[in-house]
Assembly symmetry: C2
Homo-oligomer: 341 residues x 2
């Protein structure tokens, strides 16, 4: 069953669900301060909860952190009448959801995303996971949060870089499904549009549309992977380079390359890619592709979304996604040449 | 969706499913010899499969072995078009099912149980898991094998102790659901009845009846826990004693104590417990309760099937199970006194 997404004016729904329940909050070193106070303001039932804290950062979304969380859950005698509340960015909601869904074969959990990226993507849709042996989300489950609480207040302390990180997924959602939203975003000169509640709601609605069509990600949902095949490869390679990119930054570069592929393979209008490039240059001027194309290609071949051939989600046009597109290695290399100075 | 159980005369169904697929077998040091040869005889598609071997024994059903399996799966580039085949006892099917169900959020798997215990119980019903911090199956998922292949040939090399181990679950199934089968078993003077295909099929049908009524184990399925609340506690305590009991041996003792509770709480006829005690003395003469009652009680309180009170699955009579019965600590201690010499 899909998660119920709760916006600010319905916080009492979560309060009612949680009151009289035993609660354990999973947070990271960044979110157990300001974000916790904000969450408690809207959902007072969280005030007396026990807290499991993990180190912040995607590099800690690993088996060691999962083991730590399970140990704490065991020590706190968590059982099936408990509720786990994941308070944080995608790292926390992904690993917290994974640990909750596998502890005693499934403890109910709630996600409270504290970043724009997690609000737009990780916090709902039923995918949980941890990274393993340098590959993203290799170990995970399909498990839905009971509720996801979305509140723009959590964005107040985010750095501009973190807002930009999350906005990349908003841009993706507009490109794959909403011409009007793309018209709005493509002319943006700052991130104001991306952080207002109405646009966050639209972005969430687009992801939810694809998730509900195809919860197990075997068909239409793969539209959401647009930009992510090349984007994930860029992200992985960047982590071991001196040009470390955030997820959204890498995905933005991935979208540019995959718009080039979309042009080559589906005749997607060149103006779409040009508008996207202009947007990138305006809003993400410091994000650069500085990686070896052959390394990106090699990483792609091992990416979990691929089987023996490289499988892409591309665009025929704005709001016209095409999944399961076979792309040759040569076509990938050619698309990456848009980054040649 | 529930697993399809395949008996010897339908082995070709699995062969058809597996041919042309990439296969990875998970086995332990005991099953990658004789059992593998037997499996290949009936399902030739297994002949060219890659094999991941884990150390044998319940004590290795832990996170370290799971990590080892995931690493091997990653190194073999396992992906969603692969099939994992778990060949072994409950340790292998539980951990193999867990690793398959969490790798890339779910690779399909087949179970080929090689012990009577796994045929009767672990290999089907959708529960996977590993032990964690001295507690059984703390980490796990609900995930069904695509197919479960049952063949009595695998029992040919089992020791009498291992047959006895599995027969305890057959006895439990008869007690909770089948008067006629109980009539047959209660007079048994050896294990012949327990290993013939027809009786294995009946035993599987009984478990499946409860699983399908209640797949997520929130109500009727808990009937299958009869004997297991006290049994699991005995098993855990025994592992750190000089009287190590196998799962079935511990569950048999658990059933005797829980028949006493059933008598006290539900007026279950005394003759049922007396028949069960006589059966135990005939078929399991060396199995003895030598543990501290208070240690058993303490372990029970932390058993994953319990919340704040101790929750038992008992019998009103043969084939009349009663789930979610609250039992006091005093009643547990009193029931355990049946073991006083």
């Amino acid at each position: 069953m899909a998660s119920t997404i709760i916006f600010p004016n319905a916080a009492h729904v979560i309060q009612l669900y949680l009151q009289h329940k035993e609660i354990v909050i999973i947070a990271d070193a960044r979110t157990n301060g300001f974000c916790l106070a904000t969450a408690c303001k809207y959902i007072p039932a969280l005030q007396d909860a026990r807290i499991i804290t993990i180190p912040a950062g995607e590099e800690n979304k690993n088996l060691l952190s999962a083991e730590w969380i399970w140990m704490q859950m065991q020590s706190l005698h968590v059982h099936k009448d408990y509720v786990i509340v994941n308070l944080g960015g995608g790292t926390v909601t992904d690993i917290g959801g994974f640990c909750a869904s596998t502890f005693m074969r499934g403890i109910p959990f709630i996600n409270i995303p504290s970043t724009l990226l997690a609000m737009n993507d990780a916090a709902f849709g039923g995918k949980t996971g941890i990274n393993f042996m340098d590959t993203k989300n290799t170990i995970g489950t399909f498990a839905n949060a009971e509720y996801v609480f979305i509140h723009p207040d959590f964005l107040n302390t985010l750095s501009p870089k973190q807002i930009a990180n999350g906005a990349a997924e908003s841009i993706k959602h507009a490109l794959i499904h909403d011409k009007k939203l793309w018209e709005l975003y493509k002319n943006a000169t700052d991130f104001t549009h991306f952080t207002n509640l109405e646009n966050i709601q639209q972005s969430i609605a687009i992801k939810n549309y694809f998730v509900q069509l195809d919860p197990l990600d075997v068909n239409e949902r793969q539209s959401l992977n647009f930009g992510h095949s090349i984007g994930h490869a860029i992200e992985s390679i960047s982590l071991n380079s001196n040009n470390i990119l955030l997820h959204g930054e890498a995905i933005l570069l991935g979208m540019l390359a995959e718009l080039q592929l979309s042009e080559t393979i589906y005749n997607c209008p060149a103006i779409v890619r040009k508008d996207a490039e202009a947007l990138k240059n305006r809003l993400y001027p410091t994000v650069k592709f500085t990686f070896s194309k052959s390394e990106i290609l090699e990483k792609l071949l091992f990416d979990k979304k691929n089987t023996d051939t490289i499988n892409f989600s591309l665009l025929k046009n704005i709001a016209a996604p095409m999944v399961k597109t076979k792309v040759s290695k040569e076509q990938v290399l050619q698309a990456l040449s848009i980054f040649d100075a």
